[in-house]
């Protein structure tokens, strides 16, 4: 008799034979005792397999974290989550609260006075208000106390709402609106602002005119001859300030010329920047040509950057610079410090403190013996070495050393926190998502730390956050190397540790490649950081779930 094969019997036992064959086997089984026994044995085997597979010989966890957006939560956890969001909204609304604090404290202690300056004239606040005024045709939100109260109430409602809602999108939106609202509600120093712009024309504050508000000017030519009591934000092809500014000046243009009096600080950027007046604040200027004329008097520090920097006049504090050609014919009360391809201190100069300059070659620094320097004079020569790293053994040794250090770090990390090792991304979508999260973290974490540090009480938290941040960025390379080594497993059969080391070495070498190395490092950082964060969040959710299960 032609018996069916064991394979056929096995398929028959699984009820997976095509109908025709099934009928044949059925008929055969009735006739053949041997096959009947085989079939019974196979059927028993299947049952045994089901039992064995159903039993869990491994330790299934009590509960498995289910990290989803709307996973059911215990009321307590939900409340905790709400508070987390309230905290985020609070951070978003912090400019408002900071401003309140500054309004309450009439004079800040000297050590933190720079905070006051930052708070009072924060460019972000002022710009937000300028945008508001521009779009509402100079209708100031704060002109009535009703408007102010309404804004505050709106911001508070958004804060509470964002804490209550369980939808992430809603929360984010609420956070953003809270931030915007608080920026708008913040009064700028002069409590009001004036926006003037002229497309392609001249915007002018006449000699007889006095502006009480913060002033925003934009046009082809911006000329101020009168008096402005608030800050001045000016942008144009040529910005010319001849009048009197009681606040700070923020100027940008092809040419920025300030010959009037400025009581605050000057922030200027442009092709040509010229300063010929008296300034009671500090000076920050960057441009192709930066010139301080003989009539320039500066009561605070000066920070200049440019291709060509020529400084005359009188500086009551320090002078710092970075430029290609730097020539100083000025009286500087304190130190002169900086970097220049070429640096000259002329005979008419007088420096109260030290002169410390770094130049590209010995002969590039020309310090006239007739110049009077109160302190020490030090000239460092910084020679740029020719970059041909790849030819030196030292380069490879340093890469090797770094790879070993990372490997060691990874070993310590994996030994201490084995569960922190993230799995490779499941799909390209996940990869993108991780990179996105990594990018946000890369940008947001330092800002969050800064905000925390500002509250003084949060300073230790900020330090911890920064430490975690730096560690995570360092470990990001390790994470990617780990993924790569998983891939390598299919290609080479060497121990896991050697594979990881190999992957690390490869990555670090790739980082050193000219042109693409930097970008690659950045991407690896984003992706690694994102992977760590996503995985960390999943672990956290799991932990919380277990906590709840235990409770």
């Amino acid at each position: 008799m032609n018996c069916p094969s064991e394979l056929s019997l096995s398929m028959y036992a699984d009820a997976e034979l095509p109908e025709e064959q099934q009928r044949f086997v059925l008929g055969h089984l009735e006739a053949c005792a041997r096959c009947r026994a085989s079939y019974a044995a196979l059927d028993g085997e299947n049952a045994l397999l089901r039992v064995a597979l159903d039993e869990a010989p491994f330790d299934a966890p009590e509960s498995i974290a289910f990290a989803t957006k709307q996973a059911p939560r215990a009321p307590l956890a939900r409340a905790a989550h709400g508070w987390l969001w309230a905290g985020a909204a609070l951070v978003a609304g912090s400019p408002l609260f900071l401003q309140w604090v500054w309004a309450l404290v009439p004079s800040l202690p000297a050590s933190v006075s720079w905070l006051g300056e930052w708070g009072a004239s924060s460019g972000l606040l002022a710009l937000a208000r300028a945008a508001w005024l521009h779009t509402t045709d100079n209708q100031d939100l704060l002109s009535s106390s009703f408007g102010f109260a309404a804004t505050i109430v709106t911001v508070l409602l958004l804060l509470i709402g964002s804490a209550q809602r369980r939808n992430h999108l809603w929360r984010w939106t609420a956070c953003v609106w809270t931030a915007c609202g608080s920026l708008l509600a913040v009064p700028s120093p002069s409590l009001a602002a004036d926006v003037r712009y002229e497309d392609g024309g001249t915007v002018q504050v006449g000699p007889e005119e006095t502006v009480e508000d913060t002033l925003f000017l934009s046009g082809k030519y911006v000329i101020i001859e009168g008096t402005v009591h608030g800050d001045v934000y000016a942008a144009g092809e040529r910005v010319d300030i001849r009048g009197e500014i009681r606040g700070n000046v923020y100027g940008a243009g092809e040419a920025v010329v300030i010959s009037g009096y400025v009581a605050g600080s000057i922030h200027a950027a442009g092709k040509d920047i010229e300063l010929a007046g008296r300034t009671d604040g500090a000076l920050y200027a960057a441009g192709q040509n930066v010139v301080l004329t003989e009539r320039c008097v500066l009561a605070q520090d000066a920070f200049l950057a440019g291709e060509s920097i020529r400084v005359k006049g009188r500086l009551a504090r320090n002078f710092s610079f970075a430029g290609e050609q730097v020539e100083v014919t000025a009286r500087v009360a304190r130190d002169v410090r900086g970097y220049g391809e070429r640096f000259a201190l002329t005979s008419d100069s007088e420096v109260g403190g030290d002169v410390e300059v770094t130049v590209s070659a010995e002969e590039a620094a020309r310090i006239d013996p007739a110049a009077r320097v109160g302190g020490e004079t030090r000239v460092d020569v910084h020679v740029e070495e020719e970059k041909r790293d790849f030819l030196h053994a030292g380069f490879y040794l340093s890469v090797l050393a770094r790879a070993l250090a990372l490997l060691l770090f990874g070993l310590v990390l994996v030994t201490a926190f084995p569960s922190l090792r993230p799995p490779p991304p499941g799909s390209s979508l996940q990869l993108l998502r991780r990179a996105g999260i990594g990018f946000v973290a890369l940008v947001v974490a330092p800002f969050a730390a800064l905000l925390l540090a500002l509250t003084v009480i949060g300073l230790p938290l900020a330090v911890v956050l920064m430490m975690l941040y730096v560690t995570a960025v360092y470990a990001a390379t390790l994470v990617i190397a780990d993924f790569a080594s998983e891939r390598l497993r299919a290609l080479v059969s060497i121990p896991a540790l050697a594979r990881l080391g190999l992957a690390l070495l490869g990555l670090l070498l790739l980082f050193e490649l000219p042109l693409i190395g930097g970008g690659l490092r950045f991407l690896v950082c984003l992706f690694g950081l994102g992977s760590l964060l996503v995985h960390g969040r999943a672990r956290y959710a799991e932990w919380r779930h277990q906590l709840q299960a235990a409770a």
Partner: protein
């Protein structure tokens, strides 16, 4: 076959009611479903992926996917089978990424079937220790054998479903299952003779 594998067990009616609510967007209802099936899904993931940590991640992912796809679920089909299909697809994807695809999908696909096994089918393993030996042997099977075995006898998927998931033909599923059993017989016999 319905497996109440978790601390929270629901009967058929409760389950279909929870499903209906979950499909209307109730997070709490999906939570109940999760409670009911998480062990079962975890078991499948653990059997296929081989490690508890990977299985936990996979389980979370599977439920996330299931919830996103819940409106595509048609009640005519058993929910557990639908869920386990998602789970197996996810696990196979994980494995594919873990290795280079051809390594596990093609190694044995086209080889002729080896000579029929001289060993008789496994008989009832009475003792706990014996069942453990069998479970160990299953865990140690190469993936190309283990996966169809788990999908068939744990996940209750049909040959066609397994074939689709593994991107092989239905005949290959049959062959692999058969060979998986041959390998198991061999291993269990070896471990018996060792004892």
């Amino acid at each position: 076959m319905t497996h109440a594998t978790s601390g929270v067990s629901l009967d058929e009616a409760q389950l279909s009611e929870a499903l209906a609510r979950a499909q209307r967007g109730s997070a709490a209802a999906f939570g109940e479903i999760y409670q009911h099936y998480s062990r079962r899904v975890f078991g499948l993931c653990r059997r296929i992926l081989g490690s508890t940590a990977a299985a936990e991640d996979a389980t979370s992912e599977v439920f996330e996917r299931a919830r996103n796809a819940l409106d595509q679920y048609a009640p005519q089909r058993p929910f557990e089978r639908w869920l386990l299909t998602i789970a197996s697809r996810h696990c196979l994807n994980v494995l594919r990424r873990r290795h280079v695809e051809r390594r596990w999908l093609e190694t044995c696909a086209d080889e002729p079937l080896a000579s029929e096994a001289p060993l008789s089918p496994l008989e009832v393993c009475e003792g706990r220790a014996e069942r453990r030996a069998l479970q160990r042997a299953i865990d140690e099977l190469p993936e190309e054998y283990r996966i169809p075995l788990v999908l068939k006898y744990y996940g209750d998927l049909s040959y066609d479903e397994i074939a689709e998931q593994m991107a092989i033909s239905r005949n290959h599923v049959a062959v692999r299952l058969h060979r998986a059993k041959l390998a198991l017989r061999e291993r269990v016999a070896a471990s018996r003779s060792q004892d």
